[in-house]
Amino acid sequence: MITICGKSVFGGVSIGKLMFYKRKDKVIKRTHVDNVDEEWARFQKAKDTAVAQLKGLYEKALDDVGEANAMIFEIHQMMLEDLDYLESIENIIRTQEVNAEFAVATTADNFQKMFAAMDDAYMQGRAADVKDVSERVLDILCGVSAGMGEMNEPCIIAADDLAPSETVQLDKSKVLGFATMYGSSNSHTAILARTMNIPAVIGLGENLLQEYDGRDAIIDGFTGTLYIDPDEETMKEMQDKRAKDLEQKALLEQLKGKENVTKSGQKINVYANIGNVSDVGAVLKNDAGGIGLFRSEFLYLENSDFPTEEQQFSVYKQVAENMAGKKVIIRTLDIGADKQVDYFGLDKEDNPALGYRAIRICLTRPEIFKTQLRALYRAAVYGNISIMFPMIISVKEVLRIKEIIAEVKEELKNEGIPYKEDVELGIMIETPASVMISRELAKEVDFFSVGTNDLTQYTLAIDRQNSKLDEFYDPHHPAVLAMIKMAAENAHAEGAWIGICGELGADLELTEEFLKMGLDELSVSPSMVLPLRKRIRECE
């Protein structure tokens, strides 16, 4: 088995034969022409044919992928009729007395270079559009045609890169997936693959060899992996993954846009947990009502030094904007215990789970905390951000946090930097102490979110990492459930709302019980949103 890693542009698994997209080679030679008027006319005729073809493609794309995505073929027509482009070609033909093919190839080269030299990735990607339209004219001038040839059975299309026009011309019923050596996730091919729901992996590089043509292959669009000649184990794993994905997609079709409501009409919010900006796509795809836990740790774990305010601001802002007004609950730094970062310079501890971690670091090193809070209050202007603090055990801590927030807001105000005045504040309920004093805590915050993993570990005094303890471990232990119930009653008594963002929230055996406790929200991994919605809708 050969495993090649690339970049995923659309999730999903496809299994089938790999087939290389074949283009007819054409060699563009520079030849002298005597009659430049005739040569210019020959070009114009080819150009008109190309524009007519693009019109046809536009119509086809309109049906296949919708107007917004079809627009590219209208832009391609405009490119071919752009006066700068035409003047350059005419100029080369007339002044150098050369053939139209050479003039087109040279002009295309110059315009591609113009885009490639621009300073943003999106515009650089447009060089491929210039190439695509110019190749079309050249094909017509040279009298060749590109294509897939006969496709007798559905297969995975492999290529160096596919132009948008090539992608849309393929017979979709025969395409299982795309695997390309180059291309960017901004390319229209990537966009079209997503729109057409076809698993695709790009950026496989030189490892994708022509000799794999016709061999068995699997695309794992989730991880961006291409397998050639998969072994039995991989095949089995991928078949399961594919079945699960299809099931999820079917569920999505059924449940998308539906409310999280029980038969008797009780409603509950279902949000998603994420650990990185790249997860936002999965949140939206699975139709979550918001983000119930955005772990900000990745910003610290992926860096070799403290992330700056600007770095954090742009991440929080991006997530808030992408969620377009839906709630985004961002948890402040939760480093320590099992999550260690070198540059924090933390001492080694005998008992890290009970040690110097999370809010305890933030309150003793306020300079780290303030940087994050500034970024959060600034980003809150761009969407519906709430902030949540981990590992709380006392009211004093919450009051101290509020003092620091007041200082941060005062600083931002004095510096004339825009920030949001009223941001919803909440705390994690993950220590037995926070449960016991939850009535007092609820007076100080807008919401609670129960971190069931830590709450269970601290309540049962069981280390989850230690497999010897499995026989003593009961995820549904009545003590834990009683804790959640108590926190919920106290939250509601003081007008705060309460949710769960730990693993227990996704435990479908407990959904009914959580509804009875009157929980307001459950936040689960994106892939669990729809199964949970299904379960809620089955409850009385």
Binding site: M71, M78, L83, F111, M118, M123
Partner: protein
């Protein structure tokens, strides 16, 4: 000659799609229509020129129209920018 200034708010700037719509719209006027960003200026009827400006979000552009239907062009183009960009 008439003109207006506008700060782009579309997060993607003047990318391919709005550039295409702009060119289509501008091509409908008799007047010469130009779009400028700082020192650089382009004919708004030419897609490579417009895209080549590489206008990003937050940047200011100046749009000018010069010709018989310049009043109409400027009014309609300003409305177009506000709606699409």
């Amino acid at each position: 000659m008439k003109e207006f200034k506008y700060v782009i708010t579309d997060p993607e700037g003047i990318h391919a799609r709005p550039a295409g719509i702009l060119v289509k719209q501008a091509a409908g006027y008799q007047s010469a229509v130009k779009i400028a960003k700082g020192e650089k200026s382009a004919d708004a009827k030419r897609i490579f020129g417009v895209m080549g400006l590489g206008v990003k979000t937050g940047e200011e552009v100046t749009v000018t129209a010069d010709g018989a239907d310049e009043d109409k062009a400027i009014a309609e183009l300003e409305a177009f920018f506000k709606e699409n960009l």
